[in-house]
Symmetry: C2
Subunit: 386 residues, 2 copies
Amino acid sequence: MAKADQIIGIIGAGQLARMMIEAASPLDLHIRLLAASAKDGAARIWPDVTVGSPDDVDTVARFARTCDVITFDHELVPEPVLQRLEMDGCRLAPSADTLRIAQNKQRQRELFTKAGLPQPQHAICQSVESALSAGRAFGYPIMVKAAQGGYDGRGVWRCETAANLRSVAEECLSRGIVPIVEEQVLIDRELAILVARTPGGAQAIYPLVETIQIDGICRQINLSRSNYRGDRTQAADLARTVADLVGLTGVMALELFESGNHLLINEIATRPHNSGHYSIEGIATSQFEQHLRAVLDLPLGSTKLRANAAVTVNILGGSDGSDPRERLGQAIGLADVAVHLYGKEARPGRKLGHVTVTGPALKRCADRAWQAVSILTGDPRPEETF
Amino acid sequence: MAKADQIIGIIGAGQLARMMIEAASPLDLHIRLLAASAKDGAARIWPDVTVGSPDDVDTVARFARTCDVITFDHELVPEPVLQRLEMDGCRLAPSADTLRIAQNKQRQRELFTKAGLPQPQHAICQSVESALSAGRAFGYPIMVKAAQGGYDGRGVWRCETAANLRSVAEECLSRGIVPIVEEQVLIDRELAILVARTPGGAQAIYPLVETIQIDGICRQINLSRSNYRGDRTQAADLARTVADLVGLTGVMALELFESGNHLLINEIATRPHNSGHYSIEGIATSQFEQHLRAVLDLPLGSTKLRANAAVTVNILGGSDGSDPRERLGQAIGLADVAVHLYGKEARPGRKLGHVTVTGPALKRCADRAWQAVSILTGDPRPEETF
């Protein structure tokens, strides 16, 4: 069977699975979806859907038997599911071991420390005492991150005082979560870089982008050719090194802090990532197509820029609860605005889609993207993004 | 209900419907498909499919009642179906009257003659005698075109002699088909231009492209910014005029002959068209998204060029009967090659997909596109395309 004929099973049917499907269709790749609900974003746009819990061992095992290779739209796959898929000899892309690293900040920190990669100062704390001792060493305010289970700002706390740190550490430990205590880095910018890797180790690097987070949630991604220093940068080298370290198959986002002249690794996500949505319009091969190519062990595509600048702004459900579909016509009336809606029910603050604008200059792209998003959500552009 | 929330029913589920769906998904537009078979190209990639004959009056009428607006992936909709949909008060985009023109070369010729638009010399012949008299007037060789039912080179005959013309005209008339006898134009180039039009008459014009046909089948489409003279050209004016004349809603392709310094109208297709596939990668708004915008009466999108050159080459089933999917990996290993497969069973000569290459220079795009297509089909590049 030709590689392109293999059935790719996707565990989970959120927006990442949806955009993988949108990338698969022109190439006529075979996707099979395991969706918790037929109303999930990806399940709404694809015929080959199995409805069942992606966290249930038997459901996933049964589904996987009908596929040639399995990939994921999230990395929070429960350990019993991973073990069963491994035991059954399923081809996983990324592998179970890669996912075990991606879903655990402790494993990431330990691995990167061993490899001598730059990170914030941190302490992996098995006791309240060690947390407090890290507090004394790094000074306050200080960050605490849950080793497992956090995303979009959840599982991260900022502690102003030792008393504060004590209570957070106690709370974590009592729930069986290892707290990682980290120095609060003076962050100049948050950055991200995508890398794709095939099972044989071929890699493709995407350009470095800036991400703007508000309350731990990514709101805007900036790509600018004038900031783009080619593939031979420290960020690209780090991404390549980490992709090899974790034995990546597929696409991975490496999230970085820029502090002074230093880059420090924040964390990784071993799947297409919000910080890479710009690639659909901004790059010759989108992260979603690239992920599928890597999963199938096909040749990776070009990551050439298609514009001088690209800005992605997330569409978070408007505070009045209205649905962005109601004002879609107005938004796409703006030139150069590419709207992506994920087929989710509107709720205030929920990620419902994103807008990407490409063009000659970053500021104009950002202004236009926010103009579209403000139309769609009814909410004003946040000050932090000016 | 917001316009973007309306259900668009598509009659027919071939590659045009498939690429409409691919354009609809990011905008979360609601598509409902009437497919002759669940194995049709578009039905394979979409969950909301009714299987039934698009030529059966009751089937179509039942389907149409579940939709807010109806569009088509072909214009050969039988008259009884059109009448029933009109009688039922369905919103059709394009309208039944527009389709009646698009599916009938006689109506087109008469309409364009009345409007004083440039066309080849022709005679609409109700008898063998009038055909022969046109033969004497225009000289041999001469072209005969069936008023209705032809596409991809079918329904078109080249007659070298009066005897030849007589037998073709007799054959047509005996089958109830009106033969249109046309002078054989000395064609320098075959050209095509897309125009989109909303129900309110707003228009968007695409750039003029050259099409290369072999044996009446479109093989290659060339777009070059250096040949692009902007919107205010004769071709664009013709397209605008014809779109208004036929009361277009949606996208239309106007096919033209360039002969000396003259442009002559060949024919129209009132739907997304093979000559516009380049727009997926080459233009800010693809013809498929533009068609859906027009059908929903949403604002039309920008038709700005995204590259200096774009070449589309059709993937016709290879003479050895092999499936292009088998060599997909090799083809997408070439940089800048966008492969679109339509999910059809491979048969020699059948349109199975297309490849578009964008880049700075036309020749390089064409060479690269043919390189990819030769890999996919196993057949060499035809001499006519060099």
